[in-house]
C-alpha cells in the first residue's frame, strides 16, 4: 500500500490553499519579509527606486500608503490588489509580464486585510541580515516522532498544515541512503544484511558512526565544495595549461575527514598564509598556504594578446564573487557596476571587498611554464611531508657536496695536477687522431696553446673551468661527479614537486572603484572593508584577509552559518531550506521553515562549527529517515517536498553514479588522494584543443587500477569537462546549486559509455563466480549490489526474462558476445562461458540503468 494513502484520503478534495486558510492561527504577513520580495521581483522594473511610472513607488510600505494603492484592512477595494488581479477593466499588472502566482496574490491580499503590517519582528531588515537567535522548540502533536530538535521544527510546520510525516523507510533503503549520502558508495549485500539483522537499539547510530569515520566521507563531502571553489586541473582558455591545484583538493578531503571545524576551514582557506608562523611546524605552515589555493582556483587566461592587468582584474572579480557567494550567500556581482538594486550593497562595498584580494604579487597571466604546466606566481612547493623532507635533505646534500668541491678547488695539489693535464692534453692535441677523440672545443684548445703564465684572466678561467670539469682524476673527480649528480637529482626533484598557486599579500596595491566595472576607468580610492550594511569588523582587527576571514566566522555575522547549514541541508534533502543557496538576499526565496534554519545555524556555530556533529543531527532525525514514497495527492500538494512530509528522493550526481557502478561491480580502486587520473573518455575528446604545435592534447588515458579511481580524481580539463560527467558544474565559475536535469544524452552515457558497459560485465562475472549457480540467485545478487534490496517476485521474473532474451540474442550471434565482453581494459574471466556471461552482462548494465540505481531514495 502506498504510505500516503491515508493522507491522500484525507485531503482528496481539499486544495492546498484551503489547508493554509483553515489554519487556526494564520501567520502574520508583513511588508518586510513577505510582501517586499514579491513586489521587488515583479514590480521593480517600473515602480522601484528611480523608476516611478505613473508616479507610483512600491519599494517601501510608506510609499505604498502615500500612493494610496492600499486601504489597510480592505483588500477588495485596494487598487494594488485590483490591478494585479487584472480587474476593473484595466490591464493586468505587471503589464507585459507574467501575472503573479496565486500564492503571491494571496500573500498580498492577506497583508492588506491584516492591516499592512510593516514588520512582525520589529526589525525592518531583511531576515537574512539579522543575526539568527536560537528559536524555542515548538510544541508538536506527536512527541514520539521527535528524535531531535530538527524534527520538532519540521513537525510543527506539518502540524500547521495538518499534514502527517511519512513512516520511516525500511532499513535496506536507509543504509543505501546513508552510504550514498555520506560516502557516495553503495552498501555491499553483506553490509545490508548485517544492518538489517542488527537488533541493538543503537544499530542506526553505529552505522552512522562508521560512515562518518570512513576515509571516503571526505571525498563525498568535498564534491560540492569543489564546485563552489571552481576547482579544476587546468586554467581554461586557449593554452589551458595544467596546474597542481589537486594538492588543495586533497587538503579539502583531509580537512573534511578530520572534521576540521568550519571556522578553521574558513580561516585557513581565506587567509592561511597570514596566520602566525612562529613556533609552528613547517608542514603546518605549508598546509595553511596550500589551503589558500581556494582563491587561486579561478580561470587564468594566457591567450596571446591578453592584457595582463585586465585578466588580473577578472581574477579579482572572481575572488570577490566566489567568496561572497560561498560564505555569505551574497550576490556581490551586481554591485560591480552599480549599487545593488535590491540588497543594501553599494558599489563601494564591492571594491572595498575586492581590496582584500588585491595585494597578491601576480601579473594576471601564467608566469611559469614547464611542459604541460602553466602556473602563475605566487606558488609554493607542496609535496607530501615525506617528499618535502626528502627534498630538504637533498638540498642539504647538494650544499654539502658543493662545499667539498670548493674545498678541493683550494687544494695545493690542484695547480700541479692542472699543469700535468695541460701538458698531456697539448701533446694529444698535436696528433690529429687523438685530438679528434679528445673533442676539446676550439676556444679551449687555442687558450691552452698560450703558455699558462701568459693567458689573460678570461682565458685562464676558461682553461681552469674546463680542467675542473674534464681533467680531474681520483677523489677530486669523485667529489665533483657526486656534486653534479646531486644537483641533477635536485633539479629533477624540483621538477617533480607539485607547485600550488596560493595567496599572498606581498604586493600591496591601492584599490579603486571602477566606473561600471571597467578597470581602465578608476574612480575613488577605497580601503579594504566589509559591506557597510552588515555588522562591521572589530576596530582592532587587521584590515586584511585574516581580518575578513575572522569577520566571516564571527558570531555577529548573520549569514555565514545560515548559508552553510542550508548547503548541508541541500546535500541531504536535494534542496536547501532556502531554495536559492547562492542568494540569501532580498530576492531569495524565503525559507519555508525559518525557525529550523536559524536553529541549525546557531547550533552549528555554538557547537564550535562542528560539521560532523551537525550532519549527524540531520541524518539521525526522523525527518531524514522518512520513506520517500509519495502519493499523487502529495505530489500535487507539495511537488518540491518543501514541507518534508516525506523523505527526499533525487537523482545522484553523475560522479556518484559512476562511483556507485564501479563499486557495485567490484572494479573500484578506493585509493584516496594524489595526482588526477585519466579514466576512459570518448575518442579524441581533447583534440579540439590541438590548435598549435605548442602542446599535444591527446588524451593520456590511464592504465590498470587508475581507470577505476573515484570520479573526484578524474582530471578536470576546464575547457572540456569529462564527457560522462553530465549535469556537473563546469568548474569555470563558483556553483553552489547542483543542476538536476534529465535528458536523453544522460541515458546514452550510462547505456553506452565503456565505463558502465565494463562495470556491467564485471558485475556479471562477480555474481557468476560468487553466487549460487542458478540464475535466480545470481540476478538477486546483482540487483542487490546495485539497489541494496532484494527484487520482488515480479521484478525477478522480468530480470529472468531479460536474461533469457539476452542469452538467446548472443547465442544467435556468438561473435557479438565476444565483442561485447571485450569492452574495457579489465581482463575477463576466461573460465566463464562467453554467451552466458554476455547475457548476464547485458542484464547487469540494465540494472545499472534503472531509475532506482541512478537515484538516492
Amino acid at each position: 500500500m502506498m504510505p500516503g494513502r491515508i493522507l491522500a484520503g484525507l485531503f482528496a478534495v481539499t486544495p492546498f490553499g484551503l489547508l493554509l486558510a483553515t489554519n487556526q492561527q494564520p501567520k502574520k504577513v508583513d511588508y518586510t519579509h513577505d510582501v517586499y520580495p514579491i513586489l521587488s521581483a515583479h514590480c521593480s522594473k517600473c515602480h522601484f527606486g528611480d523608476q516611478k511610472l505613473a508616479g507610483l513607488l512600491l519599494d517601501s510600505r510608506a510609499e505604498i500608503l502615500r500612493g494610496r494603492v492600499v486601504i489597510p484592512g480592505k483588500s477588495a477595494s485596494s487598487a494594488l490588489l485590483v490591478r494585479i488581479l487584472g480587474q476593473g477593466g484595466m490591464p493586468r499588472m505587471p503589464m507585459g509580464f507574467a501575472p503573479l502566482s496565486d500564492s503571491d496574490i494571496s500573500t498580498i491580499r492577506t497583508w492588506i486585510d491584516q492591516g499592512c503590517i510593516e514588520s512582525t519582528s520589529g526589525n525592518h531588515k531583511h531576515w537574512a541580515y539579522v543575526k539568527p537567535i536560537r528559536p524555542k522548540l515548538p510544541k508538536v502533536s506527536n512527541t514520539q516522532w521527535v528524535r531531535n530538535p530538527i524534527d520538532a521544527f519540521v513537525l510543527s510546520r506539518l502540524d500547521q498544515l495538518k499534514l502527517k510525516p511519512s513512516p520511516a523507510a525500511d532499513r535496506t533503503t536507509l543504509i543505501r541512503r546513508l552510504c550514498l549520502d555520506l560516502t557516495g558508495l553503495p552498501p555491499s549485500p553483506a553490509e545490508v544484511d548485517a544492518f538489517v539483522a542488527d537488533s541493538r537499539p543503537d544499530a542506526y547510530d553505529r552505522l552512522v558512526d562508521r560512515l562518518f569515520a570512513s576515509p571516503h566521507y571526505g571525498e563525498r563531502m568535498a564534491l560540492p565544495w569543489l564546485d563552489a571553489a571552481r576547482y579544476a586541473d587546468s586554467n581554461g582558455f586557449q593554452q589551458d595549461g595544467d596546474t597542481f591545484q589537486y594538492v588543495w583538493r586533497d587538503w579539502v578531503v583531509k580537512a573534511l575527514n578530520d572534521n576540521m571545524p568550519f571556522d578553521q576551514f574558513t580561516v585557513e582557506q581565506l587567509a592561511g598564509d597570514l596566520l602566525p608562523t612562529k613556533d609552528v611546524p613547517e608542514n603546518v605552515v605549508r598546509n595553511r598556504q596550500v589551503a589558500t589555493a581556494f582563491n587561486r582556483n579561478h580561470m587564468l587566461n594566457g591567450e596571446g594578446g591578453a592584457i595582463p592587468e585586465e585578466q588580473r582584474n577578472v581574477g579579482l572579480f572572481d575572488r570577490v564573487d566566489t567568496t561572497s557567494t560561498t560564505w555569505l550567500g551574497l550576490t556581490m556581482t551586481c554591485a560591480r557596476c552599480h549599487d545593488h538594486k535590491y540588497d543594501p550593497l553599494s558599489q563601494k562595498d564591492y571594491y572595498s571587498l575586492m581590496a582584500f584580494f588585491n595585494n597578491v604579487p601576480e601579473s594576471g597571466v601564467p608566469s611559469d611554464v614547464n611542459g604541460p604546466y602553466y602556473i602563475a606566481k605566487p606558488w609554493v612547493y607542496a609535496g607530501t611531508d615525506e617528499e618535502m623532507a626528502n627534498f630538504k635533505a637533498l638540498e642539504g646534500s647538494v650544499t654539502e657536496a658543493n662545499r667539498n668541491v670548493q674545498k678541493d678547488e683550494q687544494s695545493p695539489e690542484l695547480p700541479g695536477l692542472q699543469a700535468q693535464w695541460e701538458a698531456t692534453t697539448l701533446k694529444a692535441l698535436d696528433d690529429t687522431k687523438t685530438a679528434q677523440q679528445l673533442k676539446v672545443p676550439v676556444n679551449i684548445a687555442a687558450a691552452l696553446k698560450v703558455p699558462s703564465g701568459k693567458r689573460d684572466v678570461a682565458n685562464a678561467k676558461v682553461v681552469r673551468d674546463y680542467f675542473l670539469e674534464n681533467g680531474l682524476t681520483g677523489s677530486f673527480k669523485e667529489t665533483r661527479t657526486k656534486w653534479h649528480d646531486l644537483e641533477k637529482q635536485l633539479a629533477e626533484a624540483r621538477n617533480r614537486l607539485p607547485k600550488v598557486m596560493v595567496m599572498s599579500d606581498a604586493q600591496p596595491r591601492q584599490t579603486h572603484i571602477y566606473s561600471r566595472g571597467n578597470y581602465e576607468a578608476p574612480l575613488a580610492d577605497v580601503a579594504a572593508s566589509t559591506p557597510a550594511s552588515l555588522p562591521s569588523m572589530p576596530t582592532n582587527a587587521p584590515k586584511n584577509r585574516l581580518g575578513l576571514a575572522r569577520w566571516i566566522i564571527s558570531p555577529e555575522n548573520p549569514l555565514t552559518a545560515r548559508v552553510q547549514v542550508n548547503r548541508y541541508w541541500q546535500q541531504f534533502f536535494g534542496k536547501g531550506l532556502v531554495k536559492t543557496p547562492e542568494n540569501f538576499g532580498v530576492q531569495s526565496e524565503a525559507p519555508v521553515n525559518p525557525e529550523l534554519l536559524d536553529w541549525l545555524a546557531v547550533e552549528f556555530r555554538e557547537s564550535g562549527w562542528n560539521v560532523k556533529r551537525l550532519q549527524r543531527l540531520i541524518v539521525t532525525s526522523s525527518t531524514y529517515r522518512q520513506s520517500s514514497k509519495v502519493s499523487p495527492t502529495m505530489v500535487k500538494m507539495d511537488p518540491d517536498n518543501r514541507y518534508l512530509a516525506r523523505g527526499a528522493r533525487f537523482r545522484l550526481p553523475s560522479m556518484v553514479i559512476r562511483d556507485a557502478a564501479l563499486a557495485a561491480s567490484g572494479l573500484i580502486n578506493l585509493k584516496v588522494g594524489g595526482k588526477p587520473v585519466y579514466p576512459y573518455q570518448p575518442k579524441a575528446i581533447w583534440d579540439g584543443l590541438n590548435i598549435t604545435d605548442e602542446r599535444d592534447f591527446s588524451y593520456p588515458q590511464s592504465n590498470g587500477a587508475d581507470l577505476y579511481r573515484r570520479s573526484i580524481y578524474t582530471f578536470w580539463r576546464r575547457t572540456v569537462k569529462p564527457g560522462d560527467m553530465f549535469d556537473s558544474s563546469s568548474r569555470q565559475v563558483c556553483t553552489v546549486r547542483p543542476s538536476q536535469t534529465s535528458t536523453p544524452l544522460h541515458a546514452l552515457t550510462t547505456l553506452n559509455d565503456v565505463a558502465w558497459v565494463e562495470a556491467g560485465r564485471a558485475l556479471a562475472e562477480k555474481v557468476m563466480r560468487e553466487s549460487k549457480a542458478n540464475s535466480k540467485g545470481r540476478l538477486i545478487d546483482a540487483f542487490r549490489r546495485v539497489c541494496a534490496r532484494t527484487p520482488s517476485v515480479k521484478e525477478l521474473a522480468i530480470l529472468q526474462r531479460a536474461l533469457t532474451q539476452s542469452i538467446s540474442a548472443f547465442q544467435s550471434d556468438p561473435a557479438s558476445a565476444t565483442a561485447y565482453l571485450r569492452q574495457g581494459d579489465s581482463k575477463r574471466d576466461a573460465k566463464l562461458d562467453p554467451i552466458e556471461e554476455a547475457g548476464y552482462a547485458s542484464v547487469c548494465l540494465a540494472i545499472l540503468n534503472l531509475d532506482e540505481a541512478l537515484t538516492r531514495e
Partner: protein, 492 residues
C-alpha cells in the same frame, strides 16, 4: 490528477507491456511514453506530440523566424579586406594612420606598443554584386552571388579586444564566462520542435593547417545558470557524432530495444510503488535516447543528397569535419526541426599571414556559406530561418608586423567597427547598414552593438529581449544584460 483515472491508465500500460515484451508495438512505445506524463500519454497514441512547448507567454509576438543558424567565423575576419569598402585608402598605402583617428582606441598587447601604424588598404579589389550592387571583396564571389538575400551590417562594435572574451560576449552577452548562450536562451524560451534531436546543436571546424589557433570552449554554447538541458549539444566529426550515441560493440539494436523495454517495465514497477514523477521523466528520456540513436545516423548520412546539392557546397562537403560539410548538416538539422545550429569555424586570426591565409579562408568558407543560403531558399526555409555570418570583432586598418615579409604581416584585433551579414528570417536582403569613417576605424552613422544584434535576432524569433529572463542570484538575467535595442532598419 484523479487517482482512479491514473490506475486505469496503469492497467492499460501493463497490458501494453505484455504486448511489447512479445515484440509487438515497439514503435508505438515512444508515443505511449510521451513527454508530459499520464495525461498526454493517453493522447499520445492518437496524435503524437513533437517537441516541448515554449514558456508561457512566448513568443511575445508573432515571430518572423523559427530557427537560427550561426556561421561563426572564429579568429575575426578582416572587414577592411572583405566588406567595408574604402577605395580612398589606396592612395595612402603605408602612410601612418593619423593620430587623430587612432587616439584613444584600446588595442591588444600585440600592437599596443608597436609604435608605427602604417595603413594597409584591402589586399584584393572590391566589386559590386547583385541587383543591390553591394560592394564586397572579389574574394567572396559566392557570397556575392547571394548579395540580394543578405543584409550587410558594417557598423558592428564590441568592447572586447581578445578572442575568448569577444566570442563569449557575442554568444552569451557577457565577456566573462558563465552566462547562458544565445542558443540556450532560444531553446529555453521557445522550446523544441522535435523529440528526436536536441534543440541546440553545435559543430566545429577549422582551417586545414590550423593556422588560426582559436579554440572553441564549451561555454560558447553553454547554459550558464539555466538548466543544463538547454546547453548546446556538440556534434563531433570524429567518432560518435553525439557522445555515447552508438551501442557498445556486440549490442545489437534489436537487443537494445528489448533491454530498454525491460528497463522501462522495471521502472514502472518502481513508479507504481514510489509515485515519484521523476521516474516517469526518466522513462521518457530513455525512450528519446533510443530515437536519437536512429535519427542522428540518418541525419549525418549525406549519401542520398543529390549531386547538384553537393556540388553547390563545393568539394569539401564530402569531408567530415569541414566547414562545407557542417553547412550541409546545418540545413539537414534545420529541416528536422532543430531550433538553433551553431557552426564554429576557426581560421581568420591573420596577424602575420594575411597575404597567405585570407584567400584560403575565403575559398574554404565562401562557397559553402552561400550554398547554405541558396539551399535554404530553394526549399522555402530561408524565410523563417536566420543565417548569421559573423566573428568576434574585426581587424585593424594598419599593419601588424613587417610589411616586407609576405608571411610576416597582417592585421591585429579590432572591435570599434567591423562587419557581419545576416540572411533570412525577416532580415532585409540586399541591404547595407551603417557608415564607418574613411579608415574603417570608427562608426560614423548607425552603430550596432553586440547586444543590439542579439536583441534583433531574438526579436525576429518573436522574443522581446527584455522579457526573456531567468532569475538567478536574485536577479532577472537576460541575454542582452542591461542594454540592447532592436535594429529596426535591417528587418522587415
Amino acid at each position: 490528477m484523479n487517482p482512479f483515472f491514473e490506475r486505469d491508465l496503469r492497467i492499460s500500460r501493463r497490458q501494453f507491456f505484455g504486448k511489447a515484451a512479445s515484440g509487438i508495438g515497439v514503435l508505438a512505445l515512444g508515443g505511449l511514453l510521451s513527454q508530459d506524463g499520464f495525461a498526454s500519454s493517453l493522447q499520445g497514441l492518437a496524435h503524437q506530440r513533437h517537441g516541448t512547448p515554449p514558456l508561457p507567454g512566448l513568443p511575445h509576438f508573432a515571430p518572423k523566424a523559427k530557427r537560427v543558424i550561426v556561421l561563426w567565423q572564429g579568429g575575426a575576419p578582416s572587414q577592411v579586406d572583405l566588406f567595408d569598402h574604402k577605395p580612398g585608402l589606396a592612395a595612402h598605402r603605408l602612410e601612418e594612420l593619423p593620430e587623430s583617428v587612432r587616439a584613444g582606441t584600446r588595442l591588444s598587447t600585440m600592437t599596443a606598443s608597436q609604435g608605427k601604424y602604417p595603413i594597409l588598404p584591402a589586399i584584393k579589389p572590391f566589386r559590386q554584386y547583385g541587383n543591390s550592387g553591394t560592394w564586397m571583396s572579389e574574394l567572396l564571389p559566392h557570397i556575392g552571388s547571394v548579395a540580394d538575400d543578405i543584409c550587410l551590417v558594417r557598423t558592428m562594435n564590441t568592447d572586447a579586444v581578445n578572442h575568448a572574451p569577444g566570442v563569449t560576449f557575442f554568444l552569451t552577452g557577457s565577456q566573462i564566462p558563465g552566462r547562458p548562450s544565445m542558443g540556450a536562451w532560444a531553446s529555453y524560451g521557445l522550446g523544441s520542435m522535435t523529440d528526436e534531436l536536441p534543440s541546440f546543436i553545435v559543430m566545429t571546424s577549422s582551417d586545414e593547417k590550423k593556422t588560426c589557433g582559436q579554440l572553441f570552449f564549451d561555454y560558447y554554447w553553454g547554459s550558464g545558470f539555466i538548466p543544463s538541458k538547454f546547453q548546446g549539444v556538440q556534434f563531433r566529426s570524429d567518432g560518435d557524432p553525439v557522445l555515447y550515441l552508438t551501442n557498445p560493440p556486440g549490442m545489437s539494436a534489436d537487443l537494445r530495444r528489448k533491454v530498454l523495454n525491460d528497463i522501462a517495465e522495471l521502472d514502472h514497477q518502481r513508479l507504481s510503488e514510489y509515485g515519484d514523477p521523476e521516474i516517469e521523466t526518466r522513462i521518457t528520456q530513455y525512450e528519446l535516447a533510443f530515437k536519437m540513436q536512429t535519427s542522428v545516423p540518418e541525419l549525418t548520412d549525406i549519401s542520398k543528397e543529390p549531386k547538384s546539392v553537393l556540388d553547390m557546397y563545393g568539394p569539401d562537403v564530402l569531408k567530415k569535419g569541414t566547414y562545407a560539410h557542417n553547412c550541409l548538416l546545418a540545413r539537414r538539422l534545420i529541416e528536422r526541426g532543430v531550433r538553433f545550429v551553431q557552426l564554429m569555424h576557426s581560421g581568420w586570426d591573420q596577424h602575420s599571414n594575411l597575404d597567405t591565409q585570407l584567400a584560403l579562408q575565403c575559398r574554404d568558407t565562401d562557397q559553402p556559406s552561400a550554398a547554405l543560403v541558396k539551399d535554404l531558399k530553394q526549399r522555402g526555409l530561408l524565410d523563417d530561418t536566420i543565417v548569421l555570418w559573423c566573428g568576434e570583432f574585426g581587424r585593424t586598418v594598419f599593419v601588424q608586423g613587417d610589411i616586407n615579409r609576405r608571411d610576416g604581416h597582417g592585421r591585429d584585433h579590432f572591435g570599434k567597427c567591423y562587419s557581419l551579414w545576416v540572411a533570412g528570417g525577416g532580415f532585409k536582403g540586399g541591404k547595407v547598414h551603417g557608415e564607418t569613417d574613411d579608415f574603417s576605424y570608427k562608426v560614423v552613422k548607425d552603430p550596432v552593438g553586440v547586444h543590439d544584434m542579439q536583441a534583433t535576432i531574438l526579436h525576429q524569433l518573436g522574443i522581446d529581449h527584455e522579457r526573456l529572463t531567468y532569475r538567478y542570484q536574485g536577479r532577472d538575467f537576460r541575454l542582452t544584460d542591461v542594454s540592447g535595442q532592436v535594429v529596426r532598419p535591417i528587418i522587415s
